[in-house]
Symmetry: C2
Subunit: 335 residues, 2 copies
């Protein structure tokens, strides 16, 4: 799977800006891949990109129509199909992040086949994976892990990718979820892989590489989240990470989606993920804590928390959005 | 899914006795469900059951033809289809433990539909699961965990089920793999579930129950096996076990299938599985060590090892085949 850019971002009839969260992430990290947006009449989201028709996008060289919007139920609206068919007719591929598959829409699948266009349902892996072997492979890998879901693991991995790239370090961001896959142009939605193959899919995603090459692997879930820890465990074992970054959102009062489930302690979370990582890479270490401080009141509180974490764990603690990830990149360059 | 018995055990053209391992397990634990065996001319396996044709089996009241045999590549031989169709024609259901799906054979699927017969591909869950909630539910649960794959987790759980049943304790064996599913008549092959739903599938499999009821949950893999630990993790969290039994095979020199991967220490294995279990059940404890001593030379060595493990961890250490699991059942009755 390789999703070709430039992208035309399709927002459909998005109910609000939040419904276009995936599209916003893509624009944030790959602004130069996104040449325009296409919105239906009742769309309430806006990416601030030039409005384009399919014909205008085709003339501008767009290769893929990206459906980076969630609607009620994750289904594909009837009202979207005309646009999807027009894109295929204009020679574009179509990539969707919805739960429902565009490949399941008979008219769309037939049109793509007739036009030689590709359809990508990025939530649904189509590759066949082996079970993980655990055999060490060359190249260096970082994995973002978390105290919870949705605490900034993708953002952190992408920020480190950008920082290392800026320093001339040979590296790749490896996507494990839908937004990341649009940003990388490829990847595997590991939570949709059959459970026997989680670590194997991750070994495939971040394969053997040059000794000085860094893979920055997007994390998923948390070993301390009762719903998703199995995914995280396979990801940790398959990534064989040399370095972990722990991502944390300090204002959360319980695990995401589970009001009865307390957050783990930061120390337990570092130790737990390191213990798991060392099964396949005995040299695994935690190189930093990435804290999403956007929900914190007052700059003093924020600075105090970061200082406390940094002192306590003897590693950089920073908000990637505010401080950048230079201190973590420094640590990686020393490995 | 409920596979109805009595069973007719179909051995096809099994290359050797090992190819009929699944069928042997079923006969061992459910001899009274297995009224006969059907073997093709070139079959090299034998379960010691009466030989029966489809007509004889139908007359004996057989409800399901069980394909409990592996052939090269896990596919369905052409030579089997005549027997499968005859069983359907005689009003039986057909249940298969192969990787290839009998529901994918057009003639077989059509015949089953026409006859109102059911087809069960037990390796391929057809249920739709929710993601795990981690919410505590009533009833008691035991989960068999292991230092490795294939160390006797199913045998141990079934032995405890039989022991508790014999004592009049209200309990159920909950199957998580193909042989176990034939033995229980239902269950979920958790390693074939999409990884987002491992813990949710386990919550579904071992649901809320009477406070004194015990579910004996078959384990899979090991938290220390780099190929399958994700499955194990979701299973541990979903089972919310009150009790763990650690299963161990002391003569193994490396993790199954991975010559480079050392076995974990028994102590690390108990602690690791307990730490994971306590995320969803803070009262989880390890109640015993089940050791497969079949590969050990000499009775003295065997007795010495069990004594050493029992002393060191202050819990029963036994070979379920030789000593039975009475000491573990005693521990469960004290919970």
């Amino acid at each position: 799977m390789q999703i070709e850019h430039p992208y035309l971002m399709f927002l459909g009839d998005a109910a609000d800006q939040l419904a276009a969260k995936t599209a916003q992430g893509i624009v944030h990290w790959r602004r130069d891949w996104c040449v325009g947006q296409l919105r239906l009449d009742d769309c309430n989201a806006n990416l601030g990109l030039p409005e384009m028709t399919i014909a205008e996008a085709a003339a501008a060289g767009v290769r893929t129509l990206v459906i980076g919007v969630a609607n009620r139920g994750g289904v594909i609206s009837e009202s979207w199909i005309e646009t999807i068919l027009a894109a295929i007719g204009a020679g574009m591929d179509v990539a969707s992040g919805l739960h429902a598959r565009i490949t399941d829409i008979p008219g769309v699948a037939d049109a793509a086949a007739a036009n030689g266009g590709q359809l990508f349902d990025v939530r649904h892996p189509t590759e066949t994976f082996e079970v993980g072997s655990g055999v060490r492979r060359p190249g260096k890998r970082l994995l973002a892990v978390g105290t919870d879901c949705s605490v900034g693991k993708m953002y952190t991995a992408l920020a480190i990718d950008a920082e290392l790239t800026g320093r001339g370090v040979d590296c790749d961001f490896r996507a494990t979820g839908q937004t990341g896959i649009f940003i990388a142009g490829s990847g595997v939605s590991v939570d949709a892989v059959v459970s026997d193959f989680i670590s194997g899919a991750t070994e495939w995603l971040a394969p053997a590489n040059a000794p000085d090459h860094w893979d920055l692997v997007e994390g998923q879930g948390s070993l301390f989240h009762p719903s998703y820890a199995g995914v995280t465990m396979g990801l940790v074992h398959g990534a064989q990470p040399d370095a972990l970054v722990l991502c944390h959102e300090p204002t959360r009062t319980h695990m995401r989606g589970l009001p009865h489930q307390a957050l783990p302690e930061v120390s337990a979370c570092i130790e737990g993920h390191l213990a798991a990582a060392r099964l396949t890479n005995p040299d695994a270490r935690c190189v930093g804590i990435a804290v999403n401080t956007s929900g914190m009141d007052g700059d003093d509180t924020r600075v105090a928390l970061l200082g406390e974490l940094s002192d306590r764990f003897a590693m950089p603690a920073l908000d990637p959005v505010r401080e950048g990830v230079g201190a973590i990149a420094d640590a990686l360059e020393r490995i």
